[in-house]
Symmetry: C2
Subunit: 228 residues, 2 copies
């Protein structure tokens, strides 16, 4: 029976998680408040410090979780395509999954891909989780290039960019040419950008069915990247 205390602690910790997510959805990252969580928990405000060292630590926790969450979503979407050689289908599936995650987890999306929270500096612990979803995309680039596929339009990279991306590839052990790497990052930027403009309301009175538009342009991006 070791741990009535331990179990209670784990349970409270879980509640804090739950409430933090709920808060995020209601008031956004900037409005995340330890006092409010303590209140919802039925505790006095100072008691929360038995569980969370500070507000920034709670934010870090949420950011790491969100990065991980979207990473899992991307990985699952990719794994769901049976025909592994169909890189375009895998890309489209990942893009669609990330968009759907963003729609159903808008506050988490804002937390990691939106405007950074003022006064908060992300500690190094957040770097590794951040790469999880991008790793899925990079894997597609690696496979595409290994099979001799090339982007439709090879970008005219300035020397400095070629140097930087070559160094990055070497440093991380990723075997992708600078040209495709540059376009891959841009495609990732496009995916996030298209999700952002939808989520942040810039498609109002422009496109009423964003999912259809998004899927179509992401499929086109896959062709442009040379994934077909």
């Amino acid at each position: 029976m070791a741990g009535i205390r331990e179990r209670a602690r784990a349970e409270t910790m879980g509640e804090i998680h739950r409430l933090a997510h709920a808060q995020l959805a209601e008031v956004g990252a900037a409005g995340l408040s330890l006092r409010a969580i303590a209140r919802d928990l039925g505790m006095v405000s100072s008691a929360i410090y038995r569980y969370v060292p500070s507000r920034d630590d709670l934010l870090t926790m949420l950011i790491v979780e969100a990065f991980d969450d979207v990473g899992v979503v991307a990985e699952r979407a990719d794994a769901g395509i049976a025909d592994r050689a169909d890189l375009a289908a895998r890309w489209s599936a990942v893009a669609r999954a990330v968009r759907e995650w963003a729609l159903t987890h808008q506050p988490q999306f804002e937390l990691v891909y939106g405007t950074p929270v003022r006064g908060y500096v992300a500690p190094p612990d957040t770097i590794a989780p951040a790469t999880r979803s991008t790793a899925v995309l990079i894997q597609l680039l690696v496979e595409a290039e290994a099979q001799g596929r090339r982007p439709l339009v090879g970008p005219a990279l300035p020397a400095v960019t070629t140097v930087e991306l070559t160094a990055l590839a070497e440093r991380t052990g990723i075997t992708v040419s600078p040209a495709l790497f540059a376009l891959g990052i841009a495609a990732w930027g496009q995916m996030l950008g298209c999700i952002s403009i939808e989520l942040f309301g810039h498609l109002h009175n422009v496109i009423d069915t964003p999912s259809a538009w998004f899927d179509a342009v992401m499929a086109t991006a896959a062709v442009t990247l040379g994934l077909t």
Copy 2:
């Protein structure tokens, strides 16, 4: 000499503008505070209400200004290309100008293209200014299509998207086909997305010279759009 009052009022109004922008840069849109502006102005906090009806109105003012600002920047960049037939050069110039504006006016960029401020609902007055910068891009699409240029990869649009974009074109008097329209919006999303990931820190340890990378991928996007 009519208007020592009038002149004082205009001057104070100008100061409020200036201080609001400074505040935006320091604490971000979420932290924008009427009290702080009054303080900086050397006024008592309630006096600010002689000039600004409410905090939300100040936000609206700043948003409208920012939209207008980036619109002017885009227009000027476009106008700066002497060879009007070189649509790709015009697109690249606009993209570069918008990115540079975003870098030098980060808080304004966040205000209009970043995470929306919680609790603030944009009034209809903000819609018209928002379209100013996009109008520049759309003009490029119109000219491209008028000259018979086509995107490298025609997107396979679902029927619903074709219908929506046809209706939008008719409603606004823009003579752009749904296919190009869809890709144009996606290119605009890419531009904003690539700027966002740079500004929000997602290129740290990835690309050290974002301007070079950005220009290269935007030039490639112009080719893909069929602007060459």
